[in-house]
């Protein structure tokens, strides 16, 4: 099924470049969002805290401010 999708997309590159461009961006956005959510789910399952934290620039004594 995956091979068929890529063959179909490659065909679009020759027959309809505009549709090919849309398919490319759509695929990347869908994969990017899906992978981002899956990774977040994995970190939550592993109880790894990756939320907001105190940044070094919030510590006035360790930052040079102009």
């Amino acid at each position: 099924m995956l091979a068929e999708f890529f063959t179909w997309a490659a065909g679009l590159a020759k027959t309809s470049p505009f549709a090919y461009a849309i398919v490319n961006i759509g695929t990347m956005v869908a994969l990017g969002v899906a992978i981002g959510l899956i990774a977040d789910g994995i970190f939550k399952l592993l109880r790894v805290d990756l939320g907001a934290y105190k940044k070094e620039y919030e510590d006035e004594s360790a930052v040079i401010k102009h």
């Binding site: 890529f6 063959t7 997309a9 490659a10 590159a13 020759k14 470049p17 505009f18 090919y20 461009a21 398919v23 490319n24 961006i25 695929t27 990347m28 956005v29 994969l31 990017g32 969002v33 992978i35 981002g36 990774a39 977040d40 990756l50 939320g51 907001a52 934290y53 940044k55 070094e56 620039y57 919030e58 510590d59 004594s61 360790a62 930052v63 040079i64 401010k65 102009h66």
Partner: protein, 399 residues
């Protein structure tokens, strides 16, 4: 593995590996890293004409993954990114028009590359001297400096362009005028457009030094912008048929894992450390453009005449582009058909310089990737140790 658009066969693992490496580096710096990916892809036999478009396409997915993580950390100022994006695109368009005009006049190639070399070298030298100055201050004051926020330039821009509408940016913890962001966006976009590059390597220092944004916010905010500039690049390259989707997907799979590591590492290092590694990256980018300039001198010896010859043979521009995808085909047309061994000699030299650039960039990316992963390991180990100690202390108090 067969690449259906370009028609070349190549293994999948180099794509995965390159994706992972630039994922780590890109997530850490907040840049697209086309100057790393394009020559690295070429080293593994991926045709140059498809390398840029494929890189741009995988960048869309990678920047979504990395931006999401940076956003969770609180590193993304959406308001700055959106306003800057408007300025960036208008700047890119103006820059691209000037580039087109320079190309028509026949003075683009080398002039643009010299400008780019000068700009990258200036950014690198400035950032390095600032880093060394901070380290010296640290020694004199006897206390650690973790980041530097703002510069005399950023203060001047904020004060000069302090015109309505101004708004408070809670992420960067600063009040800023819309016009100041637009100004920086237009300037960086214009430079990126005239140089024909994505601009991450220019935008991050611009956000730090011209906007006065903390380093980590500059990284996260730039990645947000890369999502859109990558999509724009992917769209235009796809229209020209210069994207190999299957390769972009494989690269994205590697980059998604790498981007997690690179992004998470920013939590464990200080802004000043990110700046130092960014400086090194800038020098490597500069070296990459110098090598490109050298190789282009050899290209000038054969390209125009060779393509005119192919055109006379009745080949279309698309067919001419396809010839460059395979070295054996180039040899066939240059030596066996045109009987011009001098073209082949110049082509070989250009190819070797490009390969040298690829090896250098691959080494640089691997080195930076290894450094980031070590920093991540040390940071996680430190955090776990602190947690354990806190748990022990709590248990002691309870007992």
């Amino acid at each position: 593995m067969h690449m259906p658009v370009s028609g070349v066969d190549m293994a999948w693992w180099p794509l995965l590996l390159i994706g992972f490496t630039v994922g780590v580096v890109g997530g850490f710096f907040g840049i697209g890293g086309a100057w790393l990916v394009t020559p690295a892809l070429n080293i593994f036999g991926f045709p140059m004409i498809y390398a840029v478009g494929t890189d741009m396409t995988h960048l869309v997915g990678k920047s979504i993954v990395a931006t999401f993580r940076h956003w969770k950390f609180g590193h993304v100022s959406v308001i700055i990114a959106f306003v800057m994006l408007i300025g960036t695109f208008s700047g890119i368009e103006t820059g691209a028009q000037i580039l087109y005009w320079l190309t028509q006049k026949g003075i683009a190639g080398s002039v643009v590359r010299y400008l780019y070399i000068l700009l990258l070298a200036s950014i690198g030298i400035f950032m390095l001297s600032e880093y060394l100055r901070v380290r010296k201050l640290e020694k004199e004051a006897g206390k650690q400096v973790k980041d530097v926020v703002g510069t005399a330039w950023s203060r001047w821009i904020q004060e000069t362009l302090n015109i309505w509408p101004t708004f408070y940016c809670p992420i960067a913890k600063m009040r800023v005028s819309l016009w100041a962001i637009l100004f920086v966006g237009v300037v960086t976009g214009f430079v990126a457009g005239i140089l024909g590059v994505g601009g991450g390597i220019i935008r991050v220092p611009a956000l730090i030094y011209l906007m006065g944004v903390p380093t980590k916010i500059a990284v996260g905010t730039d990645l947000f912008e890369v999502m859109f500039s990558g999509a724009y690049g992917a769209f235009t390259y796809s229209l020209k048929g210069g994207v190999e989707l299957i390769a972009a997907v494989i690269m994205l799979l590697g980059a998604s894992v790498g981007a997690q590591f690179g992004t998470i590492c920013t939590k464990y290092v200080y802004g000043i450390t990110i700046r130092l590694i960014f400086t090194i990256a800038t020098f490597f980018a500069c070296a990459s453009v110098i090598l490109k300039e050298i190789s282009s001198r050899y290209a000038a010896l054969y390209k125009k005449a060779f393509e005119a010859f192919l055109k006379k043979q009745g080949l279309t521009p698309a067919e001419i582009s396809a010839i460059y995808a395979k070295k054996a085909t180039v040899y066939h047309y240059m030596v066996e058909v045109a009987n011009k061994p001098e073209w082949w000699a110049a082509y070989t030299k250009e190819y070797l310089w490009n390969q040298a650039g690829g090896i250098l960039m691959l080494t640089a990316a691997s080195g930076m990737c290894a450094y980031i992963l070590i920093q991540l390991y040390l940071g996680v180990a430190r955090e776990l140790k602190e947690k354990r100690l806190r748990a022990q202390e709590t248990a002691k108090v309870k007992a």
